[in-house]
C-alpha cells in the first residue's frame, strides 16, 4: 500500500508508526520510552487531542511515532476518536501499534478488535506487564497472537522491558516481512450479504486506498462522521487536481 523506493529509511523518508490504545495503558510512557521525548503524562480527558509526533532510529532506519489520543473506541465520534480513526484510515501508518493494559484485557480488546478490522499491519503491545505480574495475571501471548492473526509483544514501558523486541517486531512489519491475518468478525448472513454488495461500490470508488470492508461496515452503521470525513477528503482531492492538474492520490498526505 505504501510503496517506498529507498531501501533504507532515512530521516527524509521515515517509517510511520501510530500508537493507538485506551486511556491509562501507558501509551504516552511507551511513546516517551521509544522517542526520548518528554510529553505530558497527566491524566485528564482529551489530553492528547492533537496527536504528538516523535522519532527514533533503529538498526539504521528512521521511524516517526505518532501518539494518538487514548480512546475506548473509534466509533463514538468524539473529536479524539475521529483524530485516531482518520490517522489509521487515511494516513495509513506503516505499522499501527495497539497498546493494551495487561490488567484490563477484556476492556481493551474492544479497541484492538476495531483496529484489526481497519488495518492489516497491526502489532498488539500488551503493556503494564509489571502490574499484571503483581496481580498474578498471566498472559499467553502466543495463543493470543495465533487467535488474532497479528504479532503480540509484552512490555513494561516504564522499565523499558520488551522495547527491543517491540522495535524488532515493528521493523519486520514495516519492511513487509510479517504476514498477518487480522481477526475479522463474521457477521450474520444478512449483514454479510449487504457488506459484500457495498464493498464492491466502495472499491470502485476508492480502489485499494481504503479498507473496503471496513468502510462498508461503517456506512451500514450510518456513521455520519466518517461520511463527512470522506466528503472532505474528496473535496480536497478535487481542489488539488484543479490547482495542480495531477491525479496522483485521492488523499494528499498532510504536512
Amino acid at each position: 500500500m505504501n510503496p517506498r523506493t529507498n531501501p533504507k529509511h532515512s530521516q527524509k523518508n521515515p517509517f510511520r508508526i501510530a500508537l493507538a490504545g485506551n486511556p491509562n495503558t501507558g501509551k504516552s510512557t511507551l511513546f516517551n520510552a521509544l522517542t526520548g521525548l518528554r510529553q505530558h503524562t497527566g491524566n485528564w480527558p482529551g489530553k492528547t487531542v492533537i496527536h504528538a509526533e516523535g522519532s527514533y532510529q533503529y538498526d539504521g532506519d528512521a521511524y516517526t511515532v505518532i501518539d494518538l489520543p487514548g480512546t475506548y473506541s473509534l466509533y463514538s465520534n468524539s473529536a479524539d476518536e475521529e483524530v485516531a480513526r482518520d490517522c489509521i484510515i487515511f494516513e495509513k501508518p506503516d505499522v499501527t501499534v495497539v497498546v493494551l493494559d495487561a490488567t484490563a484485557m477484556e476492556r481493551n480488546m474492544n479497541l484492538a478488535l476495531q483496529v484489526l478490522e481497519m488495518a492489516d499491519r497491526v502489532v498488539l503491545c500488551i503493556n503494564l506487564m509489571d502490574e499484571a505480574k503483581k496481580k498474578g495475571i498471566y498472559i499467553n501471548e502466543k495463543s493470543l497472537s495465533k487467535k488474532l492473526g497479528v504479532p503480540v509483544v509484552k512490555t513494561s514501558a516504564r522499565n523499558r522491558d520488551g522495547l527491543d523486541r517491540l522495535q524488532k517486531v515493528i521493523q519486520e512489519m514495516a519492511y513487509g516481512r510479517t504476514k498477518t491475518n487480522p481477526y475479522r468478525i463474521r457477521y450474520s448472513d444478512e449483514l454479510e450479504e449487504k457488506i459484500s454488495a457495498l464493498e464492491e461500490s466502495v472499491t470502485s470508488t476508492f480502489g485499494d486506498r481504503l479498507p473496503a470492508r471496513w468502510v462498508a461496515l461503517r456506512l451500514l452503521d450510518g456513521d455520519q462522521s466518517l461520511i463527512d470525513s470522506l466528503h472532505q477528503r474528496i473535496e480536497l482531492h478535487r481542489k488539488e487536481v484543479h490547482n495542480h492538474g495531477v491525479d496522483e492520490s485521492l488523499y494528499p498526505v498532510e504536512a
Binding site: S73, S76, N77, E106, R107
Partner: protein, 89 residues
Amino acid sequence: MSQSSIIPLTEGLPGQRIRIHHMTLEGTMRRRLLDLGFVPGSEVKVLQRSPLGDPVAFRVIHTTIALRKEESSQIFGEIIGGEYHESTH
C-alpha cells in the same frame, strides 16, 4: 427466565447484579454504551444512587460508570443475583 423478569436498569437496586438483555437506545449513545461494556450478555452491578436518585453508578468490566435515567431506562436485563456487597466500592 421468563420475559417478565426483564427490567430496565433504572429499577435495579444497589447490590443487585443484572445481565444485560437488550438496549432500545440508538445511534451514537448506543455505540458509546456498547464501547463502555453495556453489551448484551454482560453483567453489571448496581453500586449506588446519588442523593437525588439520578444518576446511578454501575460497575461494568471492572470500571464504575454513572448513567442518567435517560440512558439507563433504555437498557434492559435480568436480575441474576443480589445482596452481594463489594466493600471496596
